[in-house]
Amino acid sequence: MDDSRFSDHAPTARPSPRTPTFVGTRGGQPQSLADVLERVLDKGVVIVGDIQVRLLDIELLTIKVRLMIASVDRAREMGINWWEGDPFVSSLEQNEQNGERKQLEERIAQLERRLEGSEKDERT
């Protein structure tokens, strides 16, 4: 990661380059963890019928992972904490995520209730 970025918190003075930055395509920087996680955990074909037979389980896990990806607390655990003391980054031009987060949390609650229900059914 480019350390020079950290010394300059003001949103100014970085000239926009005339060419795009190429990551991976031209042997430059390695692929970022965020890009890898987003793709591997949230995309790709879901093959149903594996050991976790229940679709509910898989959906629950997928949603939890998606929330985890977007969670500041988790990022802090991963040692990514540069944003602390830099409030503008989290607020500006990123307003859709709160709505999505709420929806996902509601879906988790719904799935957990259904899982509890089906476990009770199995016991009886």
């Binding site: 926009s16 395509t25 988790r74």
Partner: protein, 269 residues
């Protein structure tokens, strides 16, 4: 749900057939990767220790970023090594199955969709396109120069100045939004399919610049250079507005495993 097995089969992705010429990377936890041929295609699989990678571990670590990062990265490394050699349809994590026979059975059950999925990515790779705002004072918002440095003469002057600044910021934001849409449209048109994802949280991306576009484009292998040339044009258009385009990849086509339900903008060219 049995957790007594000592091994699980982890499936990474599907390729057209069991090519003997594929150079196989190392899999999760150092396990070898092999090809499991089934009718119509072949699955890239590893036999993993159930104690380390079984369903119990998945349940225990579903919210443990370190563990997930380790599995996700190693899963991805395999697919990345394969996509450099041939077309691959990536499977989502967790991709663990009881036995090769059981995996073969579920693949067989979903053969029609999987075959179609493979057909849709054949000859293609994915490129990521992300736009970041690196300089908020882009075109048209230079007004906050020397005037803004002086102390306001009165409360009213202060409020007037604040409101003018807010108006400038809003105008600049709208101009950027239009430019981002143009950029995406151009790249969608220059690709076979396009997907827009929510911007990544700054906390995870580790970037202080706000992400304004987080998109993926399915690009024919023969046209990679053409897409990169297009990206250079797009960047020329974004630069005066303080924005920068980052092109990532080529990736395995993770974002294009859903069957296209409708014709995307890119298909019309």
């Amino acid at each position: 749900m049995s957790e007594r097995e000592t091994c699980v089969i982890h499936a990474y992705g599907l390729v057209d057939r069991a090519y003997s010429s594929l150079s196989m990377p190392t899999g999760i936890g150092g396990a070898p990767v092999t090809l499991l041929p089934v009718d119509g295609f072949a699955a890239l699989v590893s036999e993993l220790d159930a104690e380390s990678y079984g369903p119990g571990m998945w349940r225990a670590h579903a919210e443990d970023p370190r563990w997930l990062e380790h599995v996700a990265r190693e899963h991805h490394e395999v697919l990345q090594a394969i996509v450099q050699q041939t077309d691959v349809l990536p499977l989502r994590l967790p991709g663990i199955h009881e036995s090769p026979a059981r995996l073969e059975q579920v693949l067989d059950e979903q053969r029609a969709d999987l075959t179609e999925g493979l057909a849709h990515v054949r000859g293609h790779v994915e490129l990521g396109g992300q736009i970041f705002l690196v300089d908020r004072r882009g075109a048209g918002s230079e007004a906050q120069g020397s005037d803004a440095q002086q102390r306001p003469r009165s409360g009213r002057d202060y409020l007037r100045r604040r409101s003018a600044e807010a108006e400038d910021r809003e105008q600049a934001r709208l101009r950027r939004q239009a430019k981002v849409l143009d950029a995406h449209e151009a790249m969608a048109h220059g690709s076979t399919r396009a997907v827009v994802n929510p911007p990544q949280d700054a906390a995870l991306s580790g970037r202080e610049e706000p992400m304004l576009l987080n998109a993926a484009y399915l690009v024919p292998r023969y046209d990679l250079e053409g897409f990169i040339a297009l990206a250079e044009q797009v960047q020329d258009d974004l630069a005066p507005h303080g924005m920068v385009l980052e092109v990532t990849g080529p990736w395995p086509p993770y974002n294009f495993t859903d069957l296209p339900e409708r014709v995307s903008a890119g298909d019309t060219r």
